[in-house]
Structures are given as C-alpha cells and as structure tokens.
C-alpha cells in the first residue's frame, strides 16, 4: 500500500467527521454555544466574587481547557459513536483499516475543532474579561494545546474501548469521563484542596500538569510540564494499544456483529 493510500485511510475518519459535523446543527452548540456559555458563567462568577486578576486567569484557563478537551475527545469517540448510532460498525471493521488510522484521522478533526474553540474563547475572554490568553507566549500556547489534544485523544479512545468491551450502553462514557477529569484535575480550583486520595489521583492525570503549566505563565505556582507530557504520551500509547486489543476481542466475542444489529 502506498503512502497516499495509508494517508487516505487516516483521512477517512476526518472526512466522515467533517461531513457529519457540517450537517449537524448540534455542531454549533458544541463549538460555540456551550463553550461560550461556560466561559461567560465562570467569568461573571469571578466578577460577582470580586476576585483578583490572577484568580480570574486561574478559572478562565480551566474553563477554556475543559471546553477544548471535551470537543477534541468527543471527535475521537465519534470514530465508533457515529457508526454505533447508524449501526454501521461492521462496514468500518471489515475494511483494511487499523486502529491508528481511525484515531489519527479523528484526532486531526478534533485538533481543528479544538483550535477553533480556543480561538473563539480566547477572543471572548479578552473582549469580555480583559484576559489575554496569549500573554504566556506562542510556545506556551502550543505546548498547552498539544498536551490537551493528546489527553483528549486518550479519553476518546477509552470511550471506544468501553463500547467495544461493554456494548452500546457504554456510549455514556463519552460524556462522563471529561466530567471526572474536571473534578480531579483542578480545572476550577487548585488540587491542593482535594482530599488526600483524590490528590494522588490528580497527580496521575496529565491535565493537572497542563493546567499548572499554563497558569504558571500568569505567575500562579510552579509546573512539571515534562512529567505531564510524558504521562499524556504514555496514556496515548497505552490507549492505542488497548484499543487494538479491544477491536480484536470484539472480533472474537462477536461484539462486532452485535454492535451492528
């Protein structure tokens, strides 16, 4: 198979997600409405509580990171979700694609949508709350977003793995995993206020380190970004490996047929 053939296998997931998204009115809500409402609510809350600029930066960074994470992870989860809802999973898995083709293609679309959300929210937070999202410099933004996209892809793959292992009802994972992340990664508060066991859990989540890294650019504490990125890459590799194993298991157990019924 030529490199162009391989590339098209990767882009097949990008193409499908793009077509479905552009036809779906829900996309407007995913890209603009909910992220904007989230940002606005948090921003207004900081006004009401009359917190200082550093605290405004702290919570707005969390709000924007969460929005990007959610949009990017759902795009990777859509690898199976769209097929699951249209009962066409076997059409995909009878073709000569591998897990990484699907993940990379969907991730590419997730990155495009994630960057779009970032730009909308960065502009809105600057205009409404005077918060300059680019104050830390371009490198900081790129490292921060790259970490979020890699983490989001891992979450999306966990959703796919859940569906392949437990069937159709596991699609609820698509909306719950990022909620759990929000709770333990210090999106709206420092992880130091969490109970002991949750603090340990927060240290195993890359988002915790990514938030610390970005906030440090605004003078809020120190960071361990290398550890965060290493964890993000480790989880990405492990998720991809487990996804391939889950696909093979679904072929053995017949789940692949049941998901298409």
């Amino acid at each position: 198979m030529s490199w162009r053939g391989e590339l098209n296998k990767v882009l097949s997931a990008t193409y499908k997600n793009w077509i479905i998204s552009k036809r779906n009115v829900f996309t407007v809500f995913e890209l603009i409405f909910w992220p904007f409402i989230g940002l606005l609510s948090i921003g207004l809350l900081t006004r009401f509580l009359e917190v200082g600029d550093d605290m405004v930066a702290f919570v707005l960074v969390g709000a924007i990171a969460l929005s990007i994470l959610q949009i990017s992870q759902i795009d990777v989860a859509y690898i199976l979700l769209f097929d699951l809802w249209s009962k066409s999973i076997k059409q995909t898995f009878v073709s000569p694609v591998r897990g990484y083709h699907l993940v990379l293609g969907a991730m590419l679309f997730g990155v495009i949508r994630g960057v779009a959300v970032f730009l909308v929210l960065a502009a809105a937070s600057g205009h409404l709350f005077g918060f300059d999202f680019l104050a830390g410099g371009a490198v900081t933004v790129i490292v921060f977003l790259a970490g979020i996209f890699i983490t989001a892809a891992s979450i999306g793959m966990v959703v796919c793995i859940s569906i392949l292992l437990f069937g159709q009802r596991a699609d609820v994972a698509a909306w719950t995993l990022s909620g759990i992340m929000m709770l333990v990664s210090g999106v709206y508060y420092p992880v130091s206020i969490l109970p002991g066991p949750l603090q340990i859990l927060s240290k195993s989540i890359p988002l915790t380190y990514l938030l610390e890294y970005y906030r440090s650019a605004y003078g809020y504490g120190s960071h361990q970004i290398l550890l965060g990125m290493a964890l993000a890459l480790l989880y990405f590799s492990a998720s991809l490996l487990i996804l391939n194993l889950a696909i093979e298991r679904a072929r053995r157990t017949g789940m692949m047929l049941r998901l298409s019924e």
Binding site: N8, K9, L11, Y15, K16, Q91, F93, P96, T253
Partner: protein
C-alpha cells in the same frame, strides 16, 4: 478459500451458545458459492468469519492463499462484503458514503473518484447519488451496499442475503447485476440466501447449514440426486393399470393411485420415464404433467 473445522460460539449473560460446529469446506477461484440454511443456521456468522470480520474459536481458514487468522489486513485489501440489511452513516449521501468507504480501502486520487463513479453507475444509483442514506428505500440501500462492495475490485465478494427485503422485480434486477459483475470481473462470489430460486440461478455449488452444522455440500444437481428428490409426474388415464408394475420400475420412489390418476416420484436418470409409460399397457393416457424438483425441495428435506 479453504476452511478446516471452523467452530464458533457466542457468550451472552454467562451462557455460551455454539453456533458453528466443525465446518470444513473449500471454495474454488471464480466459483459462485452459496451458503443456505434456515434462520439461525449460522450463515451470517460463517460469512462474517470468511470475510475476517470476526474470528473463529477453533479451526483454520485460508483466504487467497493467506492465513486468514494472521494476515487479516492483507486479505481485507482484496475482499469486500455487502451485508444484508445494510447500514451506513445516515447523514452522508450515497456518493459521500462510497467516497468514505473507498478511503477506508486506501484508494486515492483519480482511481478513488473513478471507482466511486463506476460503482454508482454499475448499480444505477446516478439519480440518487446526492440523496442522504437515511432517505433511501430498502432496495436502494441494498444497491448502495452492493456498489460499496465492488469499490476496491475485490477478488472475493461476500454477499450476505443480497436480495433480502427487496420486491420480486428489484430482487430479479439485483440478481442480474450480481451476475453481470462476476461475469465481467471474474471474481469469486460467496453468498448467503434462503431464497432457493436465487441460489439455483446464481450458484455453482451450495453448502447447506442446519443448526450450525454443514449438512450437505455440492452442485444443485448433486444435492437433488443425493437426497433422492425426484421428479413428480401426474398421469391421468382411462382403463385398467396394475400399480404393482409401476412400483417395481427401477427409479420409482413413490406411487400414489387415485381414481383415474396416478402420482409418482421418480429418479429422472436412466430409462425410468419410458418404463413408466410402457407400464400403462393398454390404458389410454389422457394427460401427463411433470414437475421438476427444485432447491426448495432440497431445502425442506435438509431443514427437517
């Protein structure tokens, strides 16, 4: 393609159910091979194993000279499948779905666009190419699935109940299209159906499955002969005959005598027919009706 002792079970709610038992068969290159059987016989499961969508519990499978349990991706490049009750992403149009499927098979550039166009025209989908999949009738969905199945010019084409849910006219058209494709492309076709005339019309050889077991394998003619499913003949006559003379004719399997009419089942081979006529002696034969056995009879016999 060669399958040796293929077994498959499915587990649901801690209960394991065997669905295929020791299936061994081989399919020759260029052959149209039918897998027949009643509902729940394991046809779709066997087809799914052959097309590498699912894996067997036991047994070995060789497809296009490769080990189908190890070299699955290389095999998938050279085969394709059209499923019964086909589904594709609903909000994509016919053309978009075919384009997406062509990408999954690694087609690119002009060959991708040409393949999509050829598939659309092969199945007469030109006027529906911009219609969303969710708006199509069952027949059109089936045609989209068939169009998708030839995108990568497969060497083996798997067709799972290709005419299920179609009205008789559309089913006939679809069978014609299938014939046209395998005659033109010279590919191996493996199809499942429980529509007997379809199997008789399309298949060189047939495997019958019942409750997950292979109960018969052969050409339609061989199966009819092996099961001794004979021709039916009804003769109306006037005069006297001796039914015993009819029963002792070699090849006659069954004789039923009614007033002025005899119904018989006989093996068409040899001189049975002329012997039957001679056995009527002086009686006047008023009418003869001969009914050839079809696969429906084979199916009913095997499904018992």
């Amino acid at each position: 393609m060669r399958a040796e002792k293929i077994c498959k079970s499915f587990r649901r709610l801690f209960k394991e159910k065997m669905v295929l038992f020791d299936i061994s068969l081989s399919i020759e290159e260029g052959e149209v091979f039918g897998i027949l059987g009643p509902n729940g016989a394991g046809k779709t499961t066997l087809m799914s194993i052959f097309s590498t969508l699912i894996r067997p519990d036991k047994g070995s499978l060789e497809v296009l000279g490769r080990d189908a349990l190890r070299e699955t991706h290389a095999i998938r490049e050279r085969i394709n499948i059209s499923s019964g009750n086909p589904n594709f992403p609903w909000s994509l149009t016919v053309r978009e779905n075919l384009h997406h499927s062509a990408m999954l098979y690694g087609l690119y550039g002009r060959s991708l666009y040409r393949s999509v166009d050829d598939s659309i025209s092969a199945f007469g989908l030109e006027s529906h190419s911009d219609a969303k999949f969710e708006t199509l009738s069952t027949g059109l969905k089936q045609r989209v699935s068939l169009a998708k199945s030839i995108l990568n010019r497969p060497q083996i084409l798997f067709l799972d109940e290709p005419t299920s849910g179609l009205d008789p006219e559309m089913a006939m058209k679809t069978r014609d299209l299938i014939k046209k494709i395998y005659q033109k492309e010279e590919i191996t076709v493996v199809l499942t159906t429980h529509y007997m005339p379809e199997a008789e019309e399309l298949c060189d050889r047939i495997a019958f499955l019942r409750e997950g077991r292979l109960v018969a394998l052969g050409t339609p003619k061989e199966l009819k002969r092996a099961l001794q499913i004979g021709h039916r003949i009804t003769i109306e006559y006037q005069g006297m005959i001796d039914p015993v003379r009819l029963r002792i004719i070699p090849g006659v399997m069954e004789v039923r005598e009614l007033s002025g009419r005899v119904e018989m089942v006989f093996d068409h081979s040899g001189r049975t027919f002329s012997s039957i006529i001679k056995a009527f002696g002086e009686a006047d034969i008023l009418d003869i009706e001969i009914e050839q056995p079809d696969l429906e009879d084979v199916f009913l016999e095997l499904a018992r």
